[in-house]
Subunit: 214 residues, 2 copies
């Protein structure tokens, strides 16, 4: 029972859920994916997941807590594998960079990511705005840190040349994602070429090297 042991409103920094709770959150996630925020009602979730509303409120406090828990739970599932031996030589480094970009796109364009981004954005003009922060901190910042490490390693080995790793990462992000993410969020369908994540990542890395290659 994470909520009763912690001071309860600490943005789920530490949260670990029980198996039952995770199962429920998984149901919540699927409801979100196919119906958006409106489809995730406490009664509906209780029915879908075969649990009682009372349990929901006991576990997550209120509906906002539930939403935050869903985001936190999904975020906890995403962890890029540690890049090992990524800088062996120039070619494998570039391969790893491309793989990273591919996985970035795969995460961003995945339907659960899209659903959660929609959810968080929809809530992001409220007083406190936990969801947006959660998604930024547990999502984007993790990835960005990973990316910076990779890029810095590349620079250290002389494969890349840049001043600010964060800035370089942002450029890579922009080259890979372009406006596809926002278009997906707005309900557009990805064009055929845009579904070829590896291809998209490859050209992005291509252009990235033209800008920051040593």
């Amino acid at each position: 029972m994470p909520l009763s042991s912690a001071p309860a409103d600490t943005d789920f920094e530490d949260t670990a859920f029980t198996a039952r709770q995770e199962a429920v959150l998984e149901h919540a996630l699927s409801l979100l994916v196919e119906g958006g925020e409106k489809a995730l009602t406490t009664a509906g979730l209780a029915r879908t997941a075969n649990c009682s509303k009372e349990s929901l409120y006991k576990w997550f406090g209120d509906r906002d807590g539930l939403l935050a828990a869903v985001v936190a739970y999904q975020a906890s599932k995403v962890h890029f594998p540690p890049e090992s031996g990524a800088t062996a030589d120039a070619a494998t480094f570039r391969t790893h960079l491309t793989a990273f970009a591919t996985e970035l796109l795969a995460v961003l364009f995945g339907e659960t990511s899209v659903a959660l981004n929609r959810l968080s954005i929809g809530q992001s003009n409220r007083d406190d705005n936990r969801l947006g922060r959660l998604l930024r901190v547990r999502g984007k910042q993790m990835i960005s840190a990973k990316a910076r490490a990779l890029l810095e390693a590349g620079r250290h080995r002389g494969y890349l040349k840049f001043d600010d790793a964060e800035e370089a990462y942002q450029v890579l992000y922009g080259l890979a994602v372009r406006d596809v993410h926002i278009r997906l969020l707005l309900g557009d369908q990805a064009k055929a070429e845009e579904r070829d994540l590896k291809g998209q990542a490859a050209t992005a890395v291509d252009r990235f090297y033209k800008l920051f290659g040593a």
Copy 2:
């Protein structure tokens, strides 16, 4: 009375609003900007704009129609000035391109744009999803068309080199916007440098030329 003359559900393709209606929509917009979708209630808008709910429903049909009208109205206000003499020589063309990028950022990062994007995204997992389409067609596609024209002109004069204008534009978009847009949508605050739109646009164009300059 636009709605009674048209078949009513035609996505406001032609819509023109009366002065009174525009005033009301302006109020709706300000409510949206500061409070998000939840803050835009029919009763609230009626009170704020000193009009009756009955008028709202007469004009816009239902709440969804109102939302669509807000989006359509705001979109109708955005029109990039026609670029004239943009291709006089290489330097002025580049200046115009930078100006375009700057204005793109200004629009995208403006608080009303952010509010409307949030609104549309929040609604974008509904059956029909007018808002997302509206925003894409009346917003992004207009801009993209403008950009393609500009870029093609540049290529024609030999300042740029690329195969697909759309693709080139997307790269420019990515270089300029990066992940700032989505971060703003998630409630993040733009960093100091990111508020220097001209600077951001300039470096973006800089990099763009490294990729597509002749």
